[in-house]
């Protein structure tokens, strides 16, 4: 597996935590904490697409935005190209913004409705004072062509575009600085199915042309399978399983991953498959279950699951699983309780 074994690590996240305060009382003091990201560690190799998947509320978007320091991490370390940026101030982060960018989920809310498209795309160049105004405008035209937007539309406003075109504007803004690393936060989930494929292919094409590394956040496994090199499965702020895309789909070891994969429809009416249906909802991240966060919905849960939090361990070949019953070499010891 690993064509990536000898590759350079571009981003490393170590024990990252992000807790949001729940304010209450007369003095607006925190009365509880939402553990959106709770002790997450992973690394991303240069040039690959690493995907984070999970249900709504599993903390994948928060992870992505915390890595870019759009949220201040509660604890843990973020190493970008070897530099620990977790304690960088906004002004220390500014030069790094040229290398780390983000594509947002909502193609409507992520574009300022009062700025023409050309200005939206030129904004990053203006902020980082790259070139003269004329050079910046030329670069904007070049990027618009690259993402498949007519340069004539330069002076139009966001409301004059469709959702897919708007998402292309968002992508243009993210790549105009020639970044190395992009967090793509559910970039297609707000789009029509027919447009999704176009935008995904654009992202893949840009990755090739511009040598980009993606942290791809999604909840649609079919989309993820199409774009990713490696996948991390999140549940309630924790990583449950990390593996190469093929390995994860062929050999899912964590009970939660198995449940997720069993939900993918198979386009063949003759194939009978066992559907694992999870009971109940994802628990509240304010008061997560003790021990393994998934135990309340896991059909194999035993007493130990409530007592100890299973660590995310490498069971071989870069396949990581956080389950008490999955041992080294992929030996599975769980049984229905």
């Amino acid at each position: 597996m690993s064509e990536f074994k000898d590759k350079k690590i571009i981003l490393e996240v170590k024990n990252l935590k992000k807790y949001f305060p729940v304010l209450g009382g007369v003095f607006s003091r925190p009365v509880a904490w939402v553990k959106a990201v709770d002790d997450v560690s992973f690394h991303i190799y240069e040039g690959e697409t690493f995907s984070l998947v999970g249900e709504s509320g599993s903390g994948k978007t928060t992870t992505g935005k915390t890595i870019l320091k759009l949220h201040e991490p509660t604890s843990g370390h973020i190493l970008f190209e070897g530099k620990d940026i977790s304690n960088y101030s906004p002004s220390e982060m500014r030069p790094l913004r040229r290398d780390m960018q983000i594509i947002f989920q909502d193609p409507y809310g992520s574009l300022n409705p009062r700025l023409p498209v050309g200005e939206i795309i030129r904004e990053p160049l203006a902020v980082h004072k790259i070139g003269t105004k004329k050079e910046q405008e030329e670069r904007v035209v070049e990027i618009m062509k690259l993402v498949g937007l007519r340069p004539e539309y330069l002076h139009r406003y966001p409301h004059e575009f469709s959702g897919g075109q708007r998402q292309r504007i968002g992508i243009a803004r993210a790549v105009v600085l020639n970044p190395k690393f992009i967090v793509a936060d559910e970039p297609v989930s707000a789009l029509d199915a027919s447009i999704q494929a176009q935008v995904l292919n654009l992202l893949l094409e840009l990755q090739q042309k511009l040598a980009l590394t993606y942290l791809f956040i999604a909840h649609n496994l079919a989309v993820v399978r199409h774009v990713s090199d490696r996948i991390g499965v999140m549940y309630l702020g924790k990583l449950m399983e990390v593996a190469d895309t093929k390995e994860l789909f062929d050999n899912p070891l964590h009970p939660y991953t198995q449940a997720l994969l069993s939900a993918i429809p198979i386009p063949d009416p003759d194939v009978k498959k066992e559907r694992i249906i999870l009971q109940g909802d994802i628990p509240s991240p304010i008061n997560p279950p003790s021990g393994c966060p998934f135990r309340t919905r896991c059909m194999y849960a035993k007493d130990i699951c409530a007592e100890k939090t299973p660590p995310l361990v490498d069971i071989g070949d870069g396949h990581y699983v956080a389950c008490h019953f999955v041992k080294k070499g992929g030996k599975v010891e769980y049984s229905k309780s």
């Binding site: 870019l68 913004r97 992520s110 409705p113 700025l115 990053p124 498949g148 409301h159 575009f161």
Partner: protein, 302 residues
């Protein structure tokens, strides 16, 4: 994808149109607001061209005699003096025009200053939040709870008055509404992803406020500032009427009323015109403000 196949879709229009053009198109459908707008344009032109429109008179010179009255003081309207002469024998029409200059300038400038100060505090308060927000908002509450008119009277009698001191005194009390409005807008705008995108690009808070937050919170500010113009004209008139605003011999609608009240029974026409001018102007600004509110309403927009 080859560079030639661009994605199509969205709204096809022959040319791009900006937000403000759409607002004006909606405003044009609002009849009362458009009548008010035209009236105000004419009024402003009359104030600007007060000199040529005065038929050779000026607001400061005393007329020696008029043929249709025994004395020039308090002479009724007649040829060359359509509104008659005031108690010192000055042409009332000319004074009304020049008084309009003062009243309108005070209205506009105070509104502008109020909106600018309100925007400043509102943006900072909403964007930074926390202790900054609390301090600014408590100060705003404090200013709002003050009895405005008595304080204006005291202030303007302490710092005696030219046009600019009046503007200063009124402006002090005209920013709080805008500050609150803008803070509210910013609180919702900063949760939107384009603000987050701006931070991801590396924009400074000042640039985020200037480029992203301010233009998007302008709509209610424009409405509030337009409505505030009429309030400010009334404040100026009130202070001048009480003898604390614009001083003689400089005319303003307020001090013309003050001068005319003594002669209410002998020369009532001297009171009518400044009174009507104040009434109609404030009404027009209120109607225009209402029309703008409808035209800028974000629920109709998009």
């Amino acid at each position: 994808m080859a560079n030639e196949d661009y994605v199509e879709g969205g709204i096809e229009t022959s040319e791009s149109y900006s937000y403000w053009r759409k607002v004006f198109q909606r405003l044009k459908k609002h009849k009362i607001a458009m009548v008010s707008l035209w009236f105000l344009v004419i009024l402003i032109l009359m104030a600007v061209f007060a000199g040529p429109l005065s038929f050779g008179n000026n607001p400061y010179s005393y007329i020696k005699s008029v043929p249709w009255a025994p004395r020039p003081e308090l002479a009724p309207p007649g040829p060359g003096h359509p509104l008659g002469l005031d108690n010192m024998g000055r042409d009332a029409w000319s004074r009304l025009l020049y008084g309009g200059r003062v009243s309108l300038s005070v209205g506009f400038i105070c509104s502008f200053i109020g909106a600018a100060v309100g925007l400043f505090f509102g943006l900072i308060s909403g964007y930074f939040g926390g202790i900054t927000d609390m301090l600014i908002m408590r100060f705003t509450d404090f200013m709002l709870s003050l009895p405005v008119l008595p304080l204006m009277v005291v202030l303007s009698s302490v710092i005696k008055g030219s046009l600019w001191t009046i503007i200063f005194v009124i402006s002090i009390f005209s920013w709080m509404g805008v500050a609150r409005l803008v803070r509210g807008e910013v609180l919702s705008l900063k949760e939107q992803e384009f603000t987050e995108a701006a931070r991801a690009i590396g924009e400074t808070p000042a640039r985020i406020m200037w480029i992203h937050l301010m233009p998007n919170s302008m709509a209610p500010v424009i409405v509030a500032a337009t409505l505030a113009i009429s309030g400010n004209i009334i404040y100026e008139a009130t202070l001048s009427f009480l003898g604390l605003g614009i001083r003689q011999p400089t005319p303003s609608w307020g001090n013309m009323l003050n001068g005319a009240q003594t002669f209410m029974l002998t020369a009532p026409w001297l009171m009518w015109w400044p009174g009507i001018a104040i009434l109609v102007t404030t009404l027009a600004f209120n109607f225009l403000g209402d029309g703008l509110r409808d035209a800028l309403d974000p629920r109709l927009y998009r």
